[in-house]
């Protein structure tokens, strides 16, 4: 049996966390906030539009309802004709399946174009979240995006990495309003847009407990540098503060089957395995999560997070979201939460757990916090999906699902966000149900403005060339009514009894 003693690391030898180039690099904000930035709701209760998951006819298709909500929530007024409109999504980790289907993104791109905007789809690179992460390198991230069906061809507009080829194409934004962090770095494809429509997959998150549109701004819009800041890297002393990974005495050292994977998890070689534990070099560490997540993914607890890390990280990412919002004039950012495939973990996980509840629907609005609160309340009210982690934990409808599943209430983030001006926690929910009529049935179809719908066009074709008649009569058995009514019952395990 391995001796699990952890060898003392060198943190006590460090005089300061890091000697950086802060004083000579980017001494002032490169991208001063827009003069009229601010939360959309200045007074009163913001409205959020909701459309439930499920469909029984043309108009209720989730894609059609997404387009309807875009207009109902007046997201078309976030931009003017000719504006460059960033469509912010999460490209999803390689081998991830619970991500937004490309149709949802294409649908909104189509409407932005129809309104005269110039849309382009963006996501930033990430940090190295685990050894086999694909999203930290722009080339790998795009390979994954293509695999998910996120391409120029499927969306009908450019698909870009917002913070450049290397994740360093960014702007610094000051956030004096921040509760914890006072600056961030935003990918320039986002910071230089005239407007932004944020399309989020609403689901759980291991660090921030829940991820929706706020997460898209608070981490998704940050370049690599911005993500380090939001991770609270180097906040406090290395040996007992939350800005560092926590090396515990649970590491079995070389006895661990994953020790090579663990050693390789750090892009800065900040830790090495030894016989009975890990040796850590904090002066090299930047808190990218890679060692912690790799250890956790492999079912171990040798490298973990410091106590109280998570609620502070949640507040920090609300601060960072404000940095992204400050790149836009007030009202120039619109939000849609897709509460579909509501799995416990983030889209940066290379797998997907079972959904914790059935699909809920779509939420749209211009007040960031209001959209999030409406989404969270609806997810919490939803039934529990059998076999999911929510079921394992014996949760009930009405419980704060992501608090119970991931550890802390996502409402911490929302309250912090509301305090610094991201939005309003109260909301008025407008339930949108499309009306089934001829016009609405035609509205979002493949040729919405065509004078001839598909069947009428085919009528013209068949008039000239009737492809069925020319090979008739088809070869089949003689028609026998008794056979037709009874023969199939021989193949039916219920012997022809109809379901009630």
């Amino acid at each position: 049996m391995a001796d699990n003693n952890c060898e003392p690391t060198k943190w006590t030898e460090m005089k300061a966390p890091v000697d950086g180039g802060r004083d000579t690099y980017q001494t002032k904000s490169w991208n001063p906030p827009k003069e009229k930035w601010g939360p959309f709701t200045e007074k009163g209760t913001p409205e959020v539009w909701f459309s439930e998951a499920n469909a029984t006819n043309w108009t209720e298709s989730m894609i059609c309802k997404a387009k309807d909500l875009f207009y109902e929530a007046k997201l078309n007024q976030c931009f003017k004709k000719g504006d460059e409109v960033a469509i912010k999504i999460h490209y999803g980790e390689y081998n991830r399946t619970a991500i937004l289907r490309p149709e949802y993104i294409a649908a909104i791109v189509e409407e932005v174009k129809a309104c005269g905007g110039h849309p382009y789809v963006v996501n930033d690179t990430t940090l190295s979240y685990h050894t086999h992460n694909s999203m930290a390198i722009s080339q790998y991230q795009l390979e994954g995006a293509i695999r998910h069906g996120y391409t120029d061809a499927t969306f009908g507009c450019p698909v870009l990495i917002a913070d450049g080829y290397a994740g360093e194409d960014d702007y610094r934004v000051d956030i004096p309003e921040g509760l914890i962090i006072k600056e961030t770095y935003i990918g320039r494809a986002i910071a230089e847009a005239d407007a932004m429509i944020v399309l989020a997959h609403a689901r759980g998150h291991t660090i921030t407990m829940y991820g929706g549109v706020l997460k898209q701004l608070g981490i998704g819009c940050q370049s690599k540098r911005g993500k380090y800041i939001t991770h609270l890297a180097h906040w406090g002393d290395p040996h007992d503060a939350i800005g560092w990974p926590k090396f515990t005495d649970q590491c079995p050292g070389k006895a661990c089957d994953f020790h090579k994977l663990c050693d390789n998890s750090c892009p800065r070689s900040a830790h090495r395995v030894f016989e009975n534990g890990k040796r850590w070099y904090p002066e090299r560490c930047r808190l990218c999560y890679s060692c912690q997540v790799t250890c956790g993914f492999s079912g171990h607890a040798g490298i973990a997070f410091e106590e109280m890390y998570f609620p502070n990280a949640m507040i920090a990412h609300a601060d960072a979201a404000l940095g992204a919002l400050k790149c836009f004039e007030r009202g120039k950012v619109g939000y849609i939460n897709h509460a579909i495939d509501i799995v416990p973990e983030c889209d940066c996980f290379p797998w997907a757990g079972l959904a914790v509840c059935p699909d809920v629907g779509l939420f749209a609005g211009k007040d960031l916090i209001a959209v999030e609160m409406a989404t969270l309340d609806a997810i919490d009210a939803a039934p529990i999906s059998p076999g999911s982690v929510a079921d394992e934990k014996e949760l009930k409808p009405g419980d704060d699902k992501f608090r119970e599943i991931n550890g802390f209430s996502p409402r911490i983030t929302m309250a912090a966000g509301a305090k610094i001006g991201l939005g309003t926690m109260k909301y008025k929910l407008n339930n949108y149900e499309p009306i089934l009529n001829q016009e609405n049935a035609a509205k979002w179809q493949v040729r919405p403005n065509a004078k001839k719908p598909t069947t009428v066009r085919l009528r013209d074709t068949f008039y000239r060339h009737d492809l069925a008649t020319e090979v008739m009569p088809f070869k089949r058995i003689e028609y026998d009514k008794d056979w037709v009514w009874n023969e199939w019952k021989k193949y039916d395990p219920f012997k022809g009894e109809t379901a009630d």
Binding site: Q139, L160, A166
Partner: protein, 310 residues
Amino acid sequence: MSEVVWIDNQRMTFDNSVAHKLRRLADTAEATRTLSEGMRVTLKVNVPEEGYDYSLRPNFIRTLADVAWKATQARPNICDGQRLVDYWKRSLGNAFMEVASRIGYSSETLGGHFVINGGFSGDEGDLFSCGDDSELGGVEVGTAVCRSDALWVLSQVTLNPLFGLSGALYNGGFDCLSGRARTRVLDGLNPYMFNGERPSLEAQAIFRRRALESHLAVRTALEGRIFYVNYIWDVTPQPAYYPYSETPLLDNLGFMASHDPVALDAATLALIREKLPDRSRLPETGFKAVIAEAEQLGLGRPDTERVHLS
């Protein structure tokens, strides 16, 4: 003496098409001699400005991308930087990608990851020295180029109002820089001389010197692992970054390749001069002086051993 391989566009047959010729060119010129499995290769190409109608066909690039892919077993990057100035007031990365898409340039068609050198803004780059004696000191090379293990410079040869000739020296040097660095190298020169007004010879000479020094920085960034191909195909009087072009100066002559950019551009110029039916269409560009200066800077040798394939 540096070897330059030229494959002409004669004797086209079912097994000697343009794609076959490009593969033979890469093979004969030993394009992959510095590559090994797992290396990240970037192909620097010329993405034309909207309105320029003589850009290289995607399969001309894809054929060589496939060669690089085979040699490294890894998908190459294919990149270009944004335009020199905001001519159409649309210099953002999304507009660049839209223009590229219209001529059929995409990751799917080019056979590699099609990215913007320098990111969305064009300003993402790392600083590299141009040498102790240089006037520039150092310049920022775009990230898609400088973060690669090897670089293939695939140039559409055209005339160039500032540099004389767009070829290996220009495309593998000045054109690999970040937008900010290129602005500094230009130092106020207007690269769009639509009204025929040219800069003074003095200003032009300063720019050429700086552009060549930029090539030294790119070579430092790539530690010399650079291979050059000149497409002598639709040699237009205007470069691809112009928003229009007049008709090509001469018939297509094929493709040339070398590991030496000076030898390659010298051989390219000599071939164009040799084959040009109407010498009056070739203005005095002073490009011979550029080649001499490039040699003096140690970028290569102009005396070439030309291997002719057909």
